[in-house]
């Protein structure tokens, strides 16, 4: 693994309860890449993330850069409404001093919130009561809190209105440029991928394509991935 590579995946297979979810996938991610992972529903995208995070057993090789810090924004996130957890306490879950955090950490937290466009007065509010947009931003700030080298986003747009969607991607892009982080994101939106990703991995259990968006997001590749008649078929009869 050369110094410029942040993640190397070789012959990765995941089977859950006897069913093969991912079959023999290999790819590399270089530092500061933005890798988009696309594929139809049930293609194993989220399972791939979970394997990369070590949450599910797998076969093959997953090799991260040594001492890497990974931030993770999961797809579905709902807080138990019966938990009185405040937004501040949610952030303190990552702090060594949960009960008595030092001032410096609180200042850092305020700074990170500012960066994602949230005001610090949400800290006192129960996290279960944040709006969808606020929660998405809070989760990004949460994932960014310990300055990760790589960020894993599972469908950052899910559940956010279109107006907000654009800004979430601008935000990710900004973070990527300012902090030199590597981004792996699962997305359905080809426009977003053209705009923000420099590498695309198409999976549907097996690997279907891997390369720059301009090279791999062609009608024939996409129909291989999603089946005939999916995207970009505007020929009519």
């Amino acid at each position: 693994m050369d110094a410029n590579t942040i993640l190397k995946v070789e012959n990765l297979s995941v089977a859950l309860e006897g069913e093969t979810i991912i079959n023999n996938i290999s790819f590399d991610v270089k530092k500061n890449d933005a890798l988009a992972i696309i594929g139809p529903n049930g293609a194993g995208k989220t399972v791939l993330f979970r394997a990369l995070l070590g949450l599910v057993p797998y076969k093959g090789i997953i090799e991260w850069m040594p001492n890497i810090r990974i931030g993770y924004v999961p797809q579905k996130f709902s807080f138990h409404r019966e938990s009185p957890l405040t937004t501040k306490e949610f952030f303190l879950l990552q702090n060594k001093n949960f009960w008595l955090p030092v001032n410096q950490d609180i200042e850092h937290l305020n700074h990170e919130l500012e960066l994602v466009g949230l005001s610090s007065d949400i800290l006192a509010r129960p996290i279960a009561e944040l709006s969808g947009g606020q929660l998405q931003r809070a989760l990004i700030a949460w994932a960014m809190l310990n300055h990760p080298d790589a960020l894993l986003f599972d469908e950052p747009t899910a559940g956010i209105d279109v107006g907000g969607e654009e800004t979430i991607y601008n935000l990710i892009h900004k973070l990527q440029n300012e902090r030199n982080i590597t981004v792996l994101l699962i997305s359905h939106d080809l426009n977003i991928i053209y705009k923000y990703a420099n590498q695309v991995l198409c999976i549907n259990k097996d690997m279907k394509c891997n390369g720059a968006p301009i090279d791999v997001l062609k009608p024939e590749e996409l129909s291989k991935l999603y089946g005939e008649g999916a995207f970009y078929h505007h020929h009519g009869k």
Partner: protein, 257 residues
């Protein structure tokens, strides 16, 4: 008379410390939706008492052993199987109660179910107090891990919190229940862990205050219950639990969220 006074003081200190620990563990039991499991777990103490009596050993050991086994079972069912855990826990609960009623001698059954004013040798007194305080300290120390898992299992695992942490929670619960069973009884000990947490949830605006309120309330309600029971010659267990329920109703009436 002086002897009685000394005994009452001893019991008040036990109530204060075991109540504190019960209030603290209750917050997590309620957050984890394990109130019913916890309640059922406490009843498993009955066969433990019966076994200990049959073999002429200290009932506390029987209680502790049976609760630890049950704690592991509940955890195993929750994590490792797809069986509906609340149904299995229902079976566990009724089976324990049935075994207990059949095997515990009539002279012991009321105390086993509803608690009594215990007369304890001093080593045991010290043991109960230190264990209760130590377990409370562990709960506060591990709060972050418990809350993390409760908030998002997925995120917690991604950030290195192990699922075994939940087993620790159940084990601590089992030991706290064992400590309190002599005073409060097997049928009511579960309630002592749940009620303070429910009242605290009505008041608290954060996890930290929730835990602190609950521990404090567990302690205060237990002590007040013991004093009331002593005054009017009631059994301590039901008095503590009813006082707790009364406080819970008050919290419903007076606190608007």
């Amino acid at each position: 008379m002086e002897n009685n006074m000394e005994m009452l003081n001893q019991i008040i200190i036990i109530a204060a410390s075991v109540g504190l620990a019960s209030g603290a563990i209750g917050t997590f039991i309620v957050l984890e939706h394990m109130a019913l499991a916890g309640d059922a777990l406490a009843h498993v103490a009955l066969p433990g008492i019966a076994l200990a009596l049959a073999y002429n050993t200290d009932p506390f050991l029987g209680v502790l052993a049976s609760l630890l086994i049950a704690a592991y079972l509940v955890w195993f069912v929750r994590i490792r199987t797809k069986l509906p855990s609340e149904a299995l826990i229902g079976v566990l609960f009724t089976a324990s109660l049935a075994v207990g009623i059949l095997t515990i001698p009539d002279t012991e059954i009321v105390e086993s179910l509803f608690g009594e004013f215990p007369a304890l040798p001093s080593w045991k007194f010290v043991f109960i107090i230190t264990s209760a305080l130590a377990l409370t300290a562990i709960l506060f120390f591990k709060t972050k891990q418990f809350v993390f898992l409760n908030t998002s299992r997925e995120l917690a695992k991604a950030y290195g919190i192990r699922e075994r942490t939940e087993l620790l929670l159940l084990v601590i619960f089992a030991v706290i229940v064992s400590l309190g069973i002599k005073l409060v009884g097997t049928l009511l000990m579960g309630a002592l862990t749940i009620i303070p947490a429910l009242i605290a949830r009505n008041i608290a605006r954060s996890i930290k205050s929730y835990l602190l309120f609950s521990a404090f309330l567990g302690s205060a309600i237990s002590v007040a219950g013991v004093l009331l029971a002593n005054q009017y010659n009631f059994l301590p267990g039901p008095t503590i639990v009813l006082l707790g329920v009364f406080c819970f109703l008050l919290s419903l009436v007076f606190i608007r969220k």
